[in-house]
């Protein structure tokens, strides 16, 4: 077997020197010792390192002789069998021996020296993922810088350098702070939706929580629930967690649990402002008397279970000018100055009913609505007008003048006196057409006139103002400075002032009038026909009650308002009500404390 051994060396100038020699023997040895067929002067190579021999069928066997392995195709082996026609590279120390054969030619062994670890260290770096990606440090700083600049610095700088604008609810300015919408923790409520891009309208000062003052720049007309010190005193003590939070929060400038934002938490999504839960009220009002000893109302926690009896306000005595509040527990008696039995008027079998049936105006027994007219706002009823409600039956006709009847004017005793005094003193025959003699000047005659004292008028006036007279039918006679008079009618427009109630919501499909107002059994006008707590509870139970066909779960807010606790009926054009003054609002008090 022949081996063509080709050694390639390089001169210092880099020129290649190629030496060929042919060895014709069945095996060759490679090693550092000079007696080897191929001597490699390299300390990393053994004296006798490798033997290459014919392994039959054209293959070559390479085996280590010296005990150290050899590199073949990158791997260290002690023995290998190769096909020289495919070729292989044997690595010994810094020498690379390329073994090949062309067909039946000699086995060629080309020996080359390589520089040790030719850039191997650098090449290995390519295995790390870092070689295809930007460095972790670069990515980290890049992302962090982007976040701090865009999401922190820009809003802060634009906030600090803006020119503050006074809030005007009619004409909201656009926000001046850039990118601060990325700070929003959630959508604003529907009412505040227009402020979505104007954070600084509420968040006016950095690191200062939203102040009541700021809220009141738009909501200036709001009333207080009670005076600030009393509110604080009446509050239920906090749980430990809340107490610590408020302590910290107030140290850091929050306005405390009575500030606007402690109840009106914003950024809770695009929701409508919801009425407070029963719990919100009962936190303070359940057991309020233990903290506030001088309140006039009882504790309340649940309309169905714990609510004080209603205390309607009305005139408790004739001639009163002030309304009195009396609890239903104390059997209230109303002194309206009227005499009026509801039961007779409502009885379908009474004379009143017969009378009503006979009158074209009614044609049927009386109903409530014949006298009580609902107001257009749906809340209450208009005051009963005598002329339209009563006079069809309780006629005030006192005189006949030709074909016309004269009625007494109603409402003022002076008018009554004047009308009666003008009553004709003597009856006379009708003025007829055609000629006739005047006849005798006498009572009943055409030209008769009674020039005497108007005795009959005085009698008529006196009779009318007597208990059995025309006025006394409904009014209570009295005398003023020795003159006959009537007790004034004293009826309040509204009896229950502290709660919100609408008749519209309790209309025909919900209840009959008599379900709540026991008018059909009331024989006296002194009966207070306002429903009491129990009658409301027939249908209304507390917030936690189960809703059925009869029962309506009712939280406090169904009837009561927080900001208008004493005046739910406050008219829009009447802002100057108690507790609603310019300088006792929450914000004003806090503002003065700070100053």
């Amino acid at each position: 077997m022949a081996f063509l051994i080709r050694t390639i060396d390089f001169t210092a100038a880099g020129r290649e020197i190629i030496r060929d020699r042919t060895v014709d023997q069945s095996e060759i040895s490679i090693g550092r010792a000079s007696e080897n067929d191929i001597a490699l002067p390299d300390l990393a190579v053994e004296q006798r390192h490798v033997r290459i021999s014919d392994a039959g069928t054209g293959k070559l066997a390479i085996e280590s002789v010296g005990g150290l392995g050899f590199g073949i195709n990158g791997r260290t082996e002690m023995r290998a069998e190769i096909d020289p026609n495919v070729g292989t590279e044997l690595s010994l120390g810094s020498s690379r021996l390329a073994i090949s054969r062309d067909g039946d030619g000699p086995v060629q062994i080309v020996i080359k020296q390589v520089e040790k670890d030719e850039g191997a260290g650098d090449a290995i770096q390519g295995f790390a993922l870092a070689s295809t990606l930007p460095s972790k440090r670069l990515m980290a700083w890049g992302l962090a810088a982007a976040i701090i600049i865009l999401l922190l610095s820009v809003p802060i700088i634009t906030h600090l350098t803006r020119t503050p604008v006074e809030n005007d609810p009619e004409n909201l300015a656009a926000g001046q702070v850039r990118f601060d919408s990325t700070w929003s923790t959630g959508d604003l409520s529907m009412a505040h939706h227009d402020l979505e891009d104007n954070c600084e309208a509420c968040h006016a000062t950095p690191f200062v929580s939203v102040q009541d003052e700021t809220c009141l720049t738009c909501h200036e007309e709001l009333g207080d629930h009670a005076e600030m010190p009393r509110l604080a005193e009446g509050m239920a003590p906090f749980g430990t967690g809340d107490a610590i939070q408020w302590q910290i929060a107030e140290t850091l400038g929050k306005e405390g649990p009575l500030g606007c934002v402690s109840c009106h938490s914003e950024h809770e999504g695009a929701v409508e402002l919801k009425a407070a839960s029963e719990q919100f009220c009962s936190d303070c009002h359940n057991g309020l008397d233990t903290r506030l000893t001088n309140v006039s109302f009882g504790n309340a926690a649940d309309f169905g279970k714990k609510h004080p009896e209603f205390r309607p306000q009305f005139y408790a005595a004739h001639f009163d000018t002030e309304l009195t509040r009396v609890s239903f527990d104390d059997s209230p008696v109303e002194q309206s100055g009227l005499i009026f039995p509801h039961d007779i008027h409502m009885d379908a079998n009474s004379g009143v009913a017969r009378m009503a049936i006979s009158l074209g105006k009614y044609g049927a027994p009386l109903e409530c609505s014949n006298c009580h007219e609902e107001e257009e706002d749906g809340y209450g009823f208009a005051p009963v007008e005598m002329e339209s409600a009563c006079e069809s039956c309780h006629s005030l006709v006192f005189d006949r003048n030709g074909p016309n009847f004269r009625s007494l004017r109603h409402g003022d005793v002076d008018d009554l006196m004047a009308d009666l005094a003008s009553m004709d003193r003597g009856p006379r025959s009708a003025v007829v057409s055609g000629r006739g003699r005047p006849g005798q000047f006498a009572r009943g005659g055409r030209y008769y006139s009674n020039f005497g004292r108007p005795m009959s008028a005085y009698i008529a006036i006196n009779r009318a103002l007597e208990p059995t007279g025309v006025c006394g039918e409904c009014h209570i006679p009295t005398s003023t400075n020795g003159r006959r008079n009537l007790t004034p009618v004293n009826l309040p427009d509204r009896f229950l002032m502290r709660g919100h109630f609408t008749h519209e919501a309790h209309g025909d499909d919900v209840a009959e009038c008599t379900d709540c107002h026991t008018a059909d059994t009331s024989g006296e006008a002194t009966d207070l026909l306002i429903p009491d707590l129990d009658s409301c509870r027939d249908c209304h139970q507390g917030e936690t009650a189960t809703k059925t066909e009869e029962i309506t779960p009712s939280s406090c807010a169904m009837c009561h308002g927080y900001h208008t606790p004493t005046m739910p009926w406050r008219p829009d054009d009447h802002p100057n009500l108690p507790g609603n003054g310019g300088n006792d609002s929450v914000a004003a008090i806090l503002g003065s404390l700070r100053r």
Binding site: N73, E89, S100, I124, A130, A140, L143, I147, W183, Q279
Partner: protein, 290 residues
């Protein structure tokens, strides 16, 4: 001294523990239990508190969870500093890593409860999602560190990385001489195969192990069908190219496993630093617009 052997035993036991117990099982899962307790306490507290109108990071419980979460995040991110200072004992690096993994997992619960399940396009949710990114990449990291090294080892076939490259270089040298008789077109194929960087291909090629533009494979495909004659130069080039392709295949499998082993850190670390920045923005913005 009666206690001496006992002490010695304890000392040895401690050393054995330190040497051979996985950081996941450290001290009989001590940190796992602590993390589970933290989660259960957080969930119980969340369930017990009836926050109106809806759970919120700004309630006292929300602030408590937020503070715990913030401190955890800062501490967890300190592992990067801690791991460069190895010590033994109570706060050994292993204990620290164990705590890092389990408390990091607990942070999912603490952080999510702190959000009150409110998310939106804002810096707060950004911080939350960065936190989740960090944690999820960390979970991935723990899993691949447990599963992949054996695959990596078996793929090596007792070759070092340098040897793999060396084998390729050896093949390249043989290819160079074997290809001498080839014509122009075929030589070009060999040149492009030899000229292509071993590490050609980006992140996705590495992760997927897909190299559609591999010049070696293209050269193999473009060479004429096998003639069957062993002394045919084309046949030798083909055999060498096949070897080269196999060697590249091993290297690329190695690259793929390495990439899968390392990719999480390229998410975990930058996302951690971004998270710290987002947390700063989150906390400052909340109190700036208090």
């Amino acid at each position: 001294m009666a206690t001496a052997p006992n002490n010695r035993f304890n000392q040895d036991e401690r050393r054995r523990n330190a040497d051979h117990v996985s950081f996941l099982k450290h001290k009989k899962f001590r940190w796992l239990w602590i993390a589970v307790l933290l989660c259960m306490a957080s969930i119980a507290g969340y369930a017990l508190i009836d926050q109106e109108p809806r759970p919120n990071g700004g309630s006292w419980y929300g602030y408590t969870l937020g503070t715990i979460g913030l401190m955890l995040i800062v501490w967890l991110s300190l592992l990067g500093i801690r791991k460069r200072k190895m010590t033994a004992g109570q706060w050994s690096l292993k204990a620290w890593t164990s705590a890092h993994v389990y408390l990091g997992l607990a942070l999912i619960v603490v952080g999510t409860l702190h959000t009150g399940f409110q998310v939106g396009w804002n810096v707060h949710t950004l911080a939350y999602f960065l936190m989740l990114t960090v944690i999820i990449s960390g979970i991935y990291g723990v899993i691949v560190y447990a599963a992949l090294p054996s695959t990596l080892s078996s793929n090596r076939n007792e070759l070092t990385r340098a040897q793999m490259l060396e084998a390729l270089t050896a093949l390249d040298r043989q290819l160079e001489s074997a290809a001498q008789p080839l014509d122009r077109q075929q030589s070009d194929l060999v040149i492009s195969a030899l000229g292509q960087d071993v590490f050609y291909g980006g992140l996705f090629a590495r992760l997927a192990g897909a190299y559609p533009r591999c010049a070696t494979n293209r050269a193999l495909k473009s060479l004429p069908e096998t003639s069957g004659q062993t002394d045919d130069p084309e046949e030798r080039v083909r055999a060498l190219l096949t070897k080269r392709s196999d060697q590249l295949g091993q290297i690329r499998r190695h690259l793929r496993i390495r990439a899968m082993l390392e990719i999480w850190l390229f998410v975990h670390i930058p996302a951690t630093i971004a998270l710290l920045a987002a947390l700063l923005a989150h906390v400052v913005s909340v109190f700036f617009y208090w």
